[in-house]
């Protein structure tokens, strides 16, 4: 690997922009996926919790 000094390096910036944007998209997308699933579960848990008219098992 040589650091570009003199001649202009081949312009391959497009690939690297796409790659970085894609990597961030995948990480953030997966994070959002976990949060949305977690939110849905938490809301149903809360519903069960508040609507707990039925006798619940003591801890």
């Amino acid at each position: 690997m040589i650091i570009a000094q003199a001649g202009a390096p081949p312009d391959t910036a497009a690939y690297y922009h796409v790659a970085y944007a894609w990597a961030v998209a995948v990480y953030v997308g997966y994070l959002a996926m976990i949060w949305s699933r977690a939110r849905r579960v938490r809301s149903r848990l809360a519903a069960l919790e508040s609507g707990g008219a039925r006798a619940r098992r003591e801890p």
């Binding site: 690997m1 040589i2 390096p9 312009d11 690297y16 790659a19 990597a23 977690a38 579960v41 069960l48």
Partner: protein, 251 residues
């Protein structure tokens, strides 16, 4: 995997927790590990984009190397946790080990996806082809299928104990398979060496680039652990809910 986070996430005996406890686990607690991970990733990206020189022969595309390799390291870490927890589950039959294996498997697939997509994006400008059956990339491809199979298997079994046993067996066998695929893939490459314009081998990187690489390694590892823990906590809540719903059902 720091044992502290392991215990506090499941701070009670392993039988199905009831609602109030489960809610507290996944409540809006401040997830410092995730915040740290996001911060580290931000630093890594900024450093790679703005403070790392362009490589002479490959141009800016060489920067994909940092994201690509760091994701691979995290993927191996996640798959290592899957294999380890599979063994622990078969040994202790502790559902937390199974839940951790599930979480690490899913996170591992995410990192493998990044590796598998950034690879061709980097290969195209450098080697002139999207896919060149490069040994490491081919290994990643098969790891991707193995992990996807692992998650599909988990989805196909309803009974919790059977699911845990089956996925543990697959987790261990997959770990045993990796050296064989490694051998086949590298045999394949020595027999049909592809025309290599520039072989990106061990990092004989100038130190600015090396530092960026190491920062990315660190950031990705923290992100990997944070995602696994987050996914683990979701799994705890989901199992608690399933416990309650099925229990509500039979009354």
């Amino acid at each position: 995997m720091s044992s502290a986070s392991f215990d506090d996430a499941a701070g009670r005996s392993p039988e199905a927790p009831n609602a109030p406890v489960a809610l507290s686990i996944t409540g809006r607690r401040f997830d410092w590990l995730l915040v740290a991970a996001v911060a580290c990733m931000a630093v890594a990206f900024v450093r790679a984009i703005f403070f790392t020189p362009i490589e002479a022969l490959q141009g800016a595309a060489q920067k994909i190397y940092y994201v690509h390799v760091s994701a691979a390291v995290s993927a191996y870490l996640a798959l290592g946790i899957v294999a380890l927890m599979s063994i622990v589950y078969l040994w202790l039959r502790d559902e937390r080990a199974d839940r951790l294996a599930e979480s690490a498997g899913e996170v591992g697939l995410v990192f493998l996806t990044v590796v598998l997509t950034t690879g061709p994006l980097w290969g195209k400008p450098i080697w002139g082809a999207w896919w060149t059956w490069d040994a490491r990339l081919t290994l990643t491809l098969f790891l991707w299928f193995l992990t996807a199979g692992y998650l599909v298997l988990r989805g196909a079994v309803d009974d919790a104990a059977m699911r845990a046993r089956y996925s543990a067996v697959l987790g261990i066998l997959a770990a045993l398979l990796i050296p064989f695929i490694h051998l086949s893939v590298y045999f394949f490459n020595t027999l049909h060496p592809m025309p290599i314009v520039l072989k990106p081998d061990r990092p004989s990187l100038p130190n600015e680039m090396l530092v960026t690489l190491l920062v990315f390694f660190g950031a990705c590892t923290v992100l990997c652990l944070a995602l696994i823990r987050l996914r683990y906590r979701y799994a705890v809540a989901r199992d608690a809910l399933r416990g309650l719903e099925s229990e509500g059902g039979d009354r």
